[in-house]
Each structure stands twice: as C-alpha cells, then as structure tokens.
Symmetry: C2
Subunit: 291 residues, 2 copies
C-alpha cells in the first residue's frame, strides 16, 4: 500500500512515497517555480506508483473550508503565480484517490501525533518559532479548524516590564509573533538569533513570552503534549527556560503530574526533526484514506 506526500514550501517542494506506518520509500526535492512546471514534476514523480491516497501540507494562505467553492486553493499569496491556484483540483485530475490538504504547520502537527513525540496521544499542539510563529492543534484526534483556522501565533501576551521594543507584527504590533518571532529578536537586539547564543537575557525574555503563550494554550486546549520546533527553538538553552516560565504562569493551577513532575517530557522538541513536514503530509494522506 503506497501513500503519496507533498510538502509544498514557498521556495521548494518535497515529494515522497511512503506507507501507513510512516515509512518513506522514495523522496525527491525540487525548487518551487511556477505552478505548471512544479505540479508537472509532482505528477511525474508519483506516476509510477499505484497510490491509495495523497496528502498535501502546504504554504499558504489556503482555503480549508470543505463547503467553500475554493476549497483546496492557495488563496492570496505573495508568491507570484500561485494566488488562486486550485491545488487539490489539479492533483485530483491526475490521481483519483482521496486527498488530504492542510497547512504545513497542521501537517507537521498530525505527523508528530502519528509518528513523533505525540505518538499514542489524542491531543497535542505543535508550535513553530521561526520567521513567524505558527501553531497547530489536535483535539480528540482531529486537527482544529473551525471558522477559519486558528491563528495562535497572534495572541496577546503581557509585556515584560523591562521590554521597550515596540513589536514587529504588521497587524497587532506587540502580539506574540511581534515580540518573539525570529525577525523580532533580530530587530530588538540588532543581531540574528543564531549570533546571540551567549546572551542570556535574550533567551530569558524569549522564554518569558513563549512560556506565557504556552501556558495560555494549555489553559484553553489542555493538550497532552506540547512540541516546539522552528529555527529559534534550536537554541538549546531555551527549552529549560520555557519549562520554568510555563510552571510559573500556571502557578499550580493545572494539577496534573505530567505538568508538575514531567514538564521536560511534556514540552519538547519535535520527534521527527527535519522530516516533520514530509511525514506530516504522509499523515494527511493516511487520514484522508480512513475518512
């Protein structure tokens, strides 16, 4: 039984053929140019397999509303030629199989639930802290969609009293993304995150904001596992500081030993590492097959 997986990024595509256990048999990678050319390469790669389902985890914004006439489209993207592109419809023309379609972050979240750090669990959140802050959530085994899709990176956090940085979100200024994304670190401290490893106050402040946000997610979603990925989370000092701040914010209110005693297993780096994206697309294929 073969499943197809597409990790569609703004600059590159990864395609893979795998199975329901998360094994990957073959993969290719190529640049994302214009839709015609890029999709042709996808189709060529898959053509020699008898696929049972295909999963697509993609850059966005996308239309995920199954009742909408533009379901499965990339909507208004700054990426040239991709606005209003019917992604699902194009794939469906060549492959008459169930197709799973979701954002890249949601795909990674599902991949972690099926085969990564949240394996065996019923709920989790996956947070990526990089150029932006994106969060995917799974509740009772299902990705949270709702009215649109969650925009958890844009919640408000309380400012640290010593932080005078105005924030970099074009919509909200000093929302979480505006205060704690990679570019906001760079703007506040005048250097890129990767070059600030030695400066403790950078990661102390970063953990103050991320820990506060994660505490809010825990109070609202009560996930069984919290996973943090993305470039900024590569700073090895960050995770223990986040653990401290989450406990501090919850202040003993969420009385569960997973939080009180095992926070270092509860809030972790991803289990799938650099395969999170493509495994996530495979997970979407598996889910599409089961309906």
């Amino acid at each position: 039984m073969y499943l197809g997986a597409i990790e569609a990024g703004g600059t590159k595509f990864v395609c893979a053929v795998g199975d329901e256990e998360g094994n990957i048999y073959e993969r290719v990678q190529f640049p994302n140019t214009v839709p015609e050319e890029t999709m042709q390469r996808v189709v060529d790669f898959f053509q020699s397999y008898h696929l049972e389902a295909i999963g697509i985890g993609t850059f966005g914004p996308v239309d995920l509303n199954k009742k909408s006439p533009t379901y499965g489209y990339i909507t208004n993207t700054p990426k040239p030629h991709w606005s209003n592109f019917n992604f699902v419809g194009t794939i469906q023309k060549y492959f008459h199989v169930p197709i799973g379609f979701d954002t890249d972050v949601n795909a990674a979240t599902l991949g972690e639930l099926f085969w990564g750090r949240a394996k065996g669990k019923n709920s989790c959140i996956y947070m990526t802290v990089g150029t932006g802050i994106g969060v995917g959530a799974i509740v009772e085994g299902r990705l949270v969609h709702g009215l649109l899709h969650p925009e958890m990176g844009h919640i408000l956090v309380r400012r640290h009293p010593d932080d005078t940085f105005a924030g970099s979100c074009p919509f909200h200024g000093d929302c979480l993304e505006g205060l704690a994304s990679g570019p906001s670190i760079e703007k506040r401290w005048g250097k890129r995150g990767a070059d600030l490893s030695e400066q403790n106050e950078v990661w102390e402040l970063e953990a103050f904001y991320l820990g506060q946000a994660i505490a809010q997610y825990i109070l609202i979603l009560s996930p069984e596992q919290v996973i943090i990925g993305g470039g900024v989370a590569k700073q090895s000092t960050l995770l223990p500081l986040i653990h401290h701040h989450v406990l501090n914010h919850l202040n003993g209110y969420v009385q569960h030993e997973v939080i009180l005693k095992h926070i270092d297993d509860y809030i972790t780096r991803p289990g799938l590492g650099d395969n999170a994206g493509i495994c996530g697309a495979l997970a979407l294929a598996k889910q599409a097959l089961r309906g």
Copy 2:
C-alpha cells in the same frame, strides 16, 4: 424514546425526561443535600420511565478521564459529603444504559450546539461569567477535554492601564477570572454588579477584559459561534461593548465576514436561556447513546 437528564448543582438538582430533539416532557427540582438522599430522589424520578440513556452535567471538580479508576467521580469538592462520590457508578447501578458525564459548563455548551445558538454548527464556545468564569469549547463536534479539561477562565489578559485593582483569583491574582468575575466587580467597585447598571465605566472595563479574552479564544480555537451566559452577562449594555473590543483586538486579522460584518450574530447570549443546564444534560444523554 426517552432520555434522562440530570443538572447537578451545589445547591439544587434538576432532573428531566426528554427526547433526542431536545423536548422535555417532565422535570423536577429538589435541594442537593447529602448524596444518598439526593440520589434516591433522582432514582425515584426516573424509575417510572424506560430510559435509553442518561446525561449528567454536574458541579465539580470531576474526573472526566475515561481511563482513570475514578472516572465519573466528583473529586475534592468543598461541598460536604460529596468528595470522592462515584456519580456515574451510582446511577449505573440502577440504570443499565449509556451514561454521559461532564461539567455543567461543558453540558451547557453541548446543549447550545444541539438546540441553541450554535445549532447546525460544528464548533462553538460557551462562556459563563458569574461567580467564576467558565468556558466550554466544542471542536469538530466534540467537547474539548485533553489532559485535564480546559481552564479558560484563568488565562492572562493585559491589564487596562487605569485599572489598579489587584485581582481576586486565589491562584493567579489578576487572571481573567480575577479581574472580570462577578465577585471581582463587586470588590473593585464596592457594589454588586446588578447595582452598577448605570455606571458606564464598569461595563466599559468589563468589556475590555472579556473582549480581549474572547479574541484570544477566537485566535486559538476559531469557533463558529461564541455564546456568553451567566449573571454578569445579563447587563444589557455589555454585549455591544464586547463586540467592539473583540473587533478592536483582532484588528482585521481574522478576515471572515461572520466576524467583520455579523459580530452581533457571532457573539450572542445563549439560545436556551435558563434551560441551558438541563438541556445540556439531555444533550450529553443523546451523545452517550450515539457513542
């Protein structure tokens, strides 16, 4: 087809017999005394019906984890004699039917989804602002439980710059509940909410906090409907002010016409009014029957 419903409150119980359409045929109400006596009255009331399922929406705290040995128990309640009471087990002894069991807020949320303001939708949140602030959430048709259960009333909100009140939450001081519950209004302004109707600044500040919290819930859960009940929400000036603050906090980011154009239909009072509790218990019975 008859379904049984139990709305178990700290001071009183309401029991009803109804059906899958949310019709109620008979109901009784009696004080909550000690478990033996109170449960005997429940059993006596239901005995003459051939029930297909029973739903229980109850005061708490409760154990909702189906894998736990104390699932279906009231846990450490201040209410005398009710701590560690096996609620589901006791009912199950008399009635060998599926039993739905959840918190009172979650029950009301499900009731609103089945037969109230969120009818026909797949997701919603129900917020009650009274002695405490409780919120139930439904995602993809299912109540959010997770690790424990959400404690959305205790999220952090940014303080209004003019508000010097310390907050009344014993755990967090100035979390949402500490700043915006009925008792915190009373402590801040020196009068009960019901006697402050004329004072605009009270409701302006209240809407500032509730609107901010609801904006966070929308960003995190993306519900298709938001419902606000409880004593404090009876202030008729409050809802339009909340609409204003929610739009203000989201600042055009969640681009959906339900929010941008129809916020007064999107954030509303409950549809079931004073029947929310008992209808919610009936909804739990219906859900238990379907599995």
